[in-house]
């Protein structure tokens, strides 16, 4: 049987679970004695092990970044547009490693996993993680795969924060750092959105202070509202207007009719919220948004980003999108300014796109060309 996967796709991929038994001390002071990371890889590791690229995922992402899990998969991985043969992250050249981060809910150890000490799901007791914890666990993953140094660590949004933290925590283990639609720290408005989302989850009666799995339930409506809030902020006003306008899904404004009127955008958002709440774990959502809020690249460097980046020894590529109001272009310009001040090699593309924060996942000529050419310039000998 011939698979009908597109030629520029990595095709059928199979995730694998890697277990780690060396205890990992976390930034919060607690220790994870054992943990599992769910991983996918694309392409081949070369003999000198110099062509490995790490993909760091964003808030709701996972290890499935490219390709398909089965022949009848409707959708490929979340960054399939930019990972594959001949694509920006060219799997003919690079060995690409993508994982579900610790604390996730797609197979890696997280709040919905069983706590070996209690025999019940971790729930709310799962340690609060910070971006650096992910970076340290990813370094263990690199060790396990025999990768001493990444050709590049690449991430968008929360993933970009991990990529930058990599450059500071393991300067000898990263040659290139690719930071897309990200920030060195979130703004108050950003934290406010995240807290509103968390409150939606925590005020759901099915949340049970985070121990909903022990009660055989989950905060479906709370998580759904959290996702709706997030989703609004990832799109631009313009795109929502183009996509939905004031179109009605049902009902009418005709005089004399008392129908319930439903706008298309309401129905769309509810659908997004519902499907998300069925696949994602509420505690993971809380954990991930907190990691986002806590992140401050230069906190331990006297709040001076240029001092922080002086630690790095890699080159950087930074990109941002004109209508992204969650991670606006100003945040990326701050990264670039700090890198120049720290005398690091950096190129920066500010991409015109109507699609808001989601633009980093979507097709765009300038973005694709700049990103592709930067990756093409990375030597892997």
């Amino acid at each position: 049987m011939t698979q009908a996967f597109p030629a520029d796709s990595v095709g059928l991929v199979t995730p694998q679970a890697l277990t780690f038994s060396e205890p990992l001390t976390l930034a919060c002071g607690r220790t994870l004695n054992n943990y599992q990371l769910m991983v996918e890889t694309y392409g081949e590791l070369n003999a000198s092990k110099s062509n490995a690229v790490l993909i760091c995922h964003a808030l709701s992402g996972d290890h499935h970044a490219a390709g398909y899990h089965s022949a009848d998969d409707r959708k490929p991985g979340w960054w399939n547009g930019y990972i594959g043969p001949g694509k920006a992250i060219d799997t003919n050249k690079f060995f690409v490693v993508s994982l579900n981060n610790l604390g996730g809910c797609s197979g890696s150890t997280g709040p919905s996993s069983i706590n070996p000490d209690t025999g019940t799901p971790w729930g709310a007791d799962f340690p609060k993680l910070r971006v650096r914890d992910w970076v340290h666990s990813q370094a263990r993953l690199a060790d396990a795969l025999g990768i001493g140094q990444w050709a590049a660590v690449v991430g968008g949004s929360l993933g970009g924060m991990q990529a930058m933290r990599w450059a500071l925590e393991y300067p000898d283990r990263v040659r290139h750092c690719v930071v897309i639609a990200s920030a060195m720290k979130l703004s108050a408005q950003n934290i406010a959105f995240n807290e509103t989302a968390r409150q939606a989850i925590m005020s759901d009666p099915h949340f049970h202070a985070g121990d909903y799995l022990s009660h055989n339930t989950y905060p479906k409506s709370g998580l759904s509202v959290a996702r709706m809030i997030g989703h609004i902020t990832y799109l631009s006003d313009h795109v929502m207007g183009e996509k939905f306008g004031r179109e009605l899904r049902s009902g009418s404004f005709e005089q004399g009719l008392d129908d319930l009127v439903e706008f298309q955008v309401e129905s769309y958002l509810r659908y997004q919220g519902d499907t998300f709440s069925e696949r994602f774990d509420a505690n993971t959502y809380i954990l991930m948004t907190r990691a986002l809020d806590y992140f401050d690249l230069a906190r331990e460097y006297d709040d001076a980003p240029s001092v922080a980046f002086r630690r790095a020894s890699c080159d950087f590529f930074v990109a941002s999108f004109s209508t992204d109001w969650r991670f606006p272009v100003e945040r990326s310009r701050e990264i670039v300014d700090a890198l120049i001040s720290a005398q690091k090699n950096v190129s920066y593309a500010e991409v015109d796109s109507p699609y808001g924060h989601d633009a980093f996942l979507l097709p765009n000529d300038h973005y694709r060309e700049s990103f592709s050419r930067y990756m093409a310039g990375i030597t892997t000998e």
């Binding site: 950096v346 190129s347 300038h366």
Partner: protein, 195 residues
């Protein structure tokens, strides 16, 4: 190599920090990096030019010069360059101030609007100059603020800018004529400036 680059090379110290405004395809920065081992950054807004810079391995920053250089600290570069772009700026005099604030020295090249061909067009034909040197019509030209060499020097005097070197380069006509009477026969000026 572009004809104005050769002279400019001699004024750049090895391993210095260079900022190239409106760096285009990055060829000057690539040259400076090869010949002088400079740490350079280019500012550019055209997507295709930015992509070409990235392919060349030149550091390129997507930044609109019309919005200023406010993100760069005083004296943070040894040399700030701008080749053949001053005349396209909305506020050339402010750009000049900013270049001298950010750079310890500046190098600027621009076409001479006092060149005899331009004068001929205006004085004899009564038309805005269109020539091999300035190939645009008045309505579609990106060059919105032309000056002559003399105009530029007057501006430098008014701003107490120190002219370290001045060189006239002719690509299409005799160099000796340009040296003899720069404002009449010089095609391109290269100014090396400091505060």
């Amino acid at each position: 190599m572009r004809f104005d680059f050769n002279q400019l090379l001699t004024w750049i110290a090895p391993e210095s920090r260079v900022l190239d405004l409106a760096c285009g395809d990055g060829s000057l920065l690539a040259l400076l990096s090869e010949k002088k081992s400079v740490r350079g950054y280019g500012l550019e807004i055209d997507p295709e030019q930015i992509q070409t810079c990235i392919s060349r391995g030149v550091n390129v920053i997507n930044q609109n010069l019309e919005h200023g250089l406010g993100n760069f600290e005083d004296d943070s570069f040894d040399t700030v360059l701008m080749t053949q772009a001053l005349q396209t700026m909305r506020y050339p005099h402010i750009v000049l101030d900013e270049m001298l604030r950010v750079g310890k020295e500046c190098i600027i090249t621009f076409p001479n609007f006092g060149h005899w061909k331009a004068r001929y067009h205006l004085a004899i034909k009564g038309r805005m100059p269109v020539s091999d040197l300035l190939p645009y019509e008045w309505y579609d030209t990106p060059n919105i603020h032309f000056c002559t060499f003399t105009d530029f020097e007057v501006l430098c005097r008014e701003k107490y800018i120190n002219v370290l070197h001045r060189q006239v380069v002719n690509e299409r006509s005799a160099q000796w004529l340009g040296d003899l009477s720069p404002n009449l026969f010089g095609e391109t000026a290269i100014y090396h400036l400091s505060k």
